[in-house]
């Protein structure tokens, strides 16, 4: 299904609402319109389980009057609804407080050409539904042919096309299209009360970049069966090796701690530490909204600020927070183009790879834990404390010895960044937040 109406209709709608807001007394107004076409299929045990096809639109805006902000959003795009919401917002702003930091970004002539960012793959939209269904069926079929797999959570294939439009009273008006596609598979192995589970996925902006169903199936099987027959271990302090997906999750936590909104609220242990060494020289972290074809790439953020490459941590030194206009003004800094409308979000936020092959990192551990999955939350940005349920493979004399489960790992992100001993060379952009294999010198692993 392709949405009716061209993107320029959406842009006209956004620009019309900006003009309407100004005419109703808003000092500033910024309007975003999104349109999305979605297809997804879930298959399980060789049959289609669900098929979803839909298109939707939404509008979100904020107005500023006398330094007071009010915002609104709607999935009802009827002109009378949108105009009422604009009038309500202008009126409601009166009830807020004057905030000298509020407002839109300074207008800027800088523009990034969306064409150069390779975000749109026409094949994603034209691909026949039957092919999409077959990809999911094939991935699951290959996995189920392995006798060690005893049940399936199913495979899914999904595509998404999104059109984003933004117009504001500071003169900005822009739009871009982006495609997403993904193939995923979840499996169970083991019998009755001794089951293990895991999944694998591939997710890209371009259909041709996806891993094949066979690659996804093989990886999902391997990740699942390697956990069979886990042992418990004693509570101890050991080196912990993070697999790339685990490093990504750690980076997600780090993002929350360098997000400008957490910094001015003093809700991060990294508040007030710009320019300080927060990790050792092996740590370089970058947020880059301009990497062509990546999941976190876009020409501009939710305030129309052009995307950029920001070095967040340079060889251990905290160089920059990630900011929207408001957080930047509160902190006396310049926005980094990370606004997501409400707060800040990562673009492509990653830990730069190091020199070591992952096998070499495992070989370096006389004893240790290869962390493969975590369960639960247990992240506290105010202190940097981490405590999570964990699944892993126990390392003895540089070799994988056996799987372990019902353990927890705990540590503190600040200490961990100082104790990174090795960084892998296996960075893959599997999501907007990612990192390679990493070895932390020591963490507490709690078991029996």
């Amino acid at each position: 299904m392709s949405a009716s109406g061209s993107a320029s209709d959406l842009r006209a709608l956004a620009e019309r609402l900006v003009a309407y807001g100004k005419s109703r007394g808003a000092d500033e107004i910024e309007v975003g319109v999104g349109e999305s076409d979605e297809f997804s299929v879930d298959v399980r045990l060789g049959e289609i389980e669900s098929l979803v096809e839909a298109g939707s639109r939404s509008v979100g805006f904020r107005v500023i009057k006398d330094g007071k902000t009010a915002s609104a959003s709607s999935s009802d795009l009827a002109p009378e609804t949108l105009e009422r919401l604009v009038r309500n917002a202008v009126q409601r702003a009166e009830l807020g407080s004057r905030d000298s930091f509020a407002g839109l970004p300074e207008s800027s002539p800088a523009r990034i050409d969306p064409e150069g960012l390779a975000l749109y793959d026409p094949e994603v939209q034209t691909l026949d539904s039957l092919i999409k269904i077959d990809l999911a069926l094939e991935a699951e079929r290959i996995a189920l042919a392995d006798k060690r797999i005893t049940n399936s959570f199913g495979a899914g294939f999904g595509t998404h096309e999104v059109r984003s439009v933004l117009a504001s009273s500071n003169g900005f008006s822009g739009e871009f299209r982006k495609t997403y596609c993904s193939l995923s598979l979840g499996l169970q192995a083991g019998e009755t009360d001794d089951r293990v589970e895991d999944f694998w996925f591939t997710s890209e902006t371009h259909f041709g970049d996806l891993e094949t169903p066979e690659q996804v199936a093989r990886k999902a099987v391997e990740r699942t069966v390697r956990q069979l027959h886990p042992r418990k271990i004693k509570t101890q302090k050991v080196p912990v090796v993070f697999e790339p997906l685990m490093t990504s999750s750690l980076l997600g936590f780090l993002f929350g701690c360098v997000a400008g909104t957490s910094i001015y609220q003093k809700a991060s242990f990294l508040a007030g530490r710009l320019g300080e060494a927060i990790g050792n020289e092996r740590i370089t972290v970058v947020d880059d909204g301009l990497l062509p074809g990546r999941l976190g790439t876009s020409p501009f953020d939710a305030e129309g600020v052009p995307s950029q490459r920001t070095v967040v941590v340079d060889k251990g030194v905290l160089k920059s927070y990630l900011l929207n206009t408001y957080a930047a003004r509160k902190l006396g800094l310049k926005t980094t183009g990370n606004s997501d409308g409400g707060g800040v979000s990562p673009n492509n936020f990653y830990l730069e790879p190091g020199p070591h092959a992952p096998e070499e990192i495992i070989r370096s551990c006389a004893k240790g834990l290869l962390l493969i999955r975590t369960l639960g939350h247990g992240l506290n940005p105010v202190t940097g404390d981490i405590s999570r349920g964990a699944f892993g493979l126990w390392i003895e004399n540089g070799e994988i010895a056996y799987p372990v489960s019902e353990i927890t790992i705990s540590g503190n992100l600040g200490e961990m960044l100082r104790n990174v001993e090795m960084v892998g060379n296996d960075l893959e952009f599997r999501g907007a937040v990612c990192g390679p294999t990493v070895k932390i010198a020591e963490m507490t692993v709690a078991g029996e």
Binding site: M1, R44, E47, I48, E49, S50, L51, V52, E53, A54, G55, S56, R57, S58, T69, A70, S71, A72, S73, S74, S75, D76, L77, L85, A89, R92, A93, L95, G96, S97, N151, Q188, T192, D193, R195, V196, E197, T235, Q265, K266, A267, L375, G376, H377, G378, N380, V382, T383, D385, S387, R388, G389, F391, E406, T408, I409, G411, T444, A446, E448
Partner: protein, 479 residues
């Protein structure tokens, strides 16, 4: 309630501009390719938000969500389409998208829609929040903020907010059901950050439910919420690292309900049992835990966040016995699983919004009270861990689960001693259910602010439990 609830008097036609005849025609279209069952879910939700931080009312927001989801079931397969433009052409396209799941066209039987009006109302609302101006809501936020800030000089930052919404839903299906509900919701929350020397800690509190604004004057006041957030943050300033290793664990009444939600509730959702991925799927009628444990899910508790008059498939909900004295007695059902498993509906088919397919979900899940006194439970522990406040948890189908403790105490010689901070508890559900040694008489409930996530869908839930003792459990602290 003597008076009819004022928020339920609006007919669905007025929200969606559709007449029963439009729905009937759309259902017939959805069944044209030969599905067994078709359903329309219409939703209109209006939401308001006020945020206070840095001593000012920083932002207000209003949001409207309008749309419809159309589902066709054919055997075990589901076709689904949705639209947020309720024009005839978009509705037709959504119906055709859903119909595409079936491939055996046959004559569509006549559909006779009969309005089912529930006789109960679980939302005893005095002043519906969505009809009130912003000023009294701003006043509540300011009071919570002020009480939090004034609690102690160590309070460094405060954030307080109020959110309220009204959700009108109408469900029509090819079996002739036509049912509507108007669900109010409100929550007032406060977070605090306290500082002492180099140490900073965080506290959180909140309240609400399917209530009117009067709740925050008569049941739980804004000052109480503000002070509680501050109290937690300040107490943590002097907390030490949590212990690590296996030890006896006592769970506080109310907040520890998250344990039952994770360890039991999810794995008794019917879909995981129908697909045989849940560790419980072959244990119906069998003993899986201590005879001290009886567990219910009850979506009919008035005012509770997890309650509803009808579920998102139009089914009136039932208080459902899940575990009786350690034996599995029930599952949480939606239409698809109940039909395929040939079991009765329980009214637990829920969806985040019109763009989602309904799935079995918890509502208000709790452990029935036992007989032990809290003091006796504590006295029975020589050395252990008392888990007081929680951040949430997670479970996988194999039964491995965790939950995160945000603050607790050491238990030494039967008494609570040093406060301790963040730790994760991990266990395997059947193992832990069998190790529950004592259950208190003091059933209490978690905060009326909780949300549960499953397959990308968030729905409001509540959980509760009395004080409980687990003989041994792995505590993931650092010392």
């Amino acid at each position: 309630m003597n008076e009819p609830n004022p928020i339920r008097t609006i007919a669905f036609e007025d929200h969606f501009g559709l007449a029963p005849e439009d729905l009937r025609r759309t259902l017939a279209l959805a069944l044209e390719s030969g599905g067994d069952f078709a359903e329309i879910f219409l939703e209109y939700r209006a939401y308001n938000f006020v945020l206070m931080e840095d001593d000012i009312v920083k932002e207000t927001a209003e949001s409207i969500s309008l749309g419809m989801g159309i589902r066709v079931i054919s055997g075990e397969k589901t076709g689904f389409g949705y639209a947020n433009d309720l024009s005839p052409e978009k509705i037709r396209r959504a119906a055709q998208a859903a119909a595409a799941i079936a491939h055996a066209a046959r004559p569509v039987p006549a559909i006779d829609l009969r309005t089912a009006t529930p006789t109960h109302d679980f939302y005893p609302v005095g002043e519906p929040c969505h009809r009130l101006p912003l000023d009294p809501k701003i006043a509540l936020v300011k009071e919570a903020y002020g009480a939090c800030q004034a609690f102690d000089p160590s309070i460094l930052k405060v954030k307080a907010g109020i959110q309220d919404s009204i959700q009108f839903v109408t469900v029509a299906n090819s079996e002739g059901l036509l049912a509507s509900d108007a669900r109010p919701m409100a929550k007032l929350t406060c977070t605090a950050i306290a500082e002492k020397g180099p140490v900073r800690e965080h506290g959180y509190a909140g309240g609400g439910g399917r209530i009117g604004l009067e709740y925050f004057r008569s049941v739980l006041g804004p000052e109480e919420i503000g002070r509680e957030a501050a109290r937690e943050a300040v107490a943590l300033l002097d907390a030490r690292e949590a212990p690590a290793g296996e030890m006896p664990v006592v769970l506080s009444a109310g907040h520890a309900g998250v344990l039952i939600h994770e360890a039991v509730g999810h794995l008794l959702e019917a879909d995981f049992n129908r697909k045989k991925t849940s560790i419980f799927h072959d244990k119906f009628g069998k003993k899986v835990g201590s005879p001290l444990i009886t567990i219910y899910d009850d979506p009919t508790i008035p005012s509770f966040r997890g309650s509803y008059n009808i579920d998102d498939e139009g089914t009136p909900p039932r208080k459902t016995l899940l575990i009786e004295k350690g034996v599995i007695r029930g599952l949480l059902q939606d239409r698809l699983s109940a039909g395929l498993m040939k079991m009765p509906l329980t009214g637990h088919g829920r969806r985040q919004d019109y763009s989602d397919i309904p799935i079995p979900r918890m509502a208000n899940t709790y452990i029935a009270p036992g007989e032990s006194g809290r003091e006796n439970i504590l006295r029975s522990v020589k050395k252990g861990f008392y888990a007081d406040r929680f951040q949430g948890g997670q479970v996988e189908d194999s039964g491995k689960f965790t939950f995160s403790v945000s603050s607790g105490f050491l238990i030494e010689d039967g008494r609570l001693t040093a406060p301790v901070k963040q730790a994760t508890l991990i266990g395997s559900n059947i193992d832990i259910l069998n190790k529950i040694e004592m259950v208190g008489a003091d059933l209490a409930w978690s905060l009326q602010t909780g949300t549960c996530s499953k397959e990308g869908q968030d729905v409001p839930v509540m959980d509760g439990c009395p004080t409980m003792k687990i003989a041994r459990m792995t505590v993931g602290g650092r010392s």
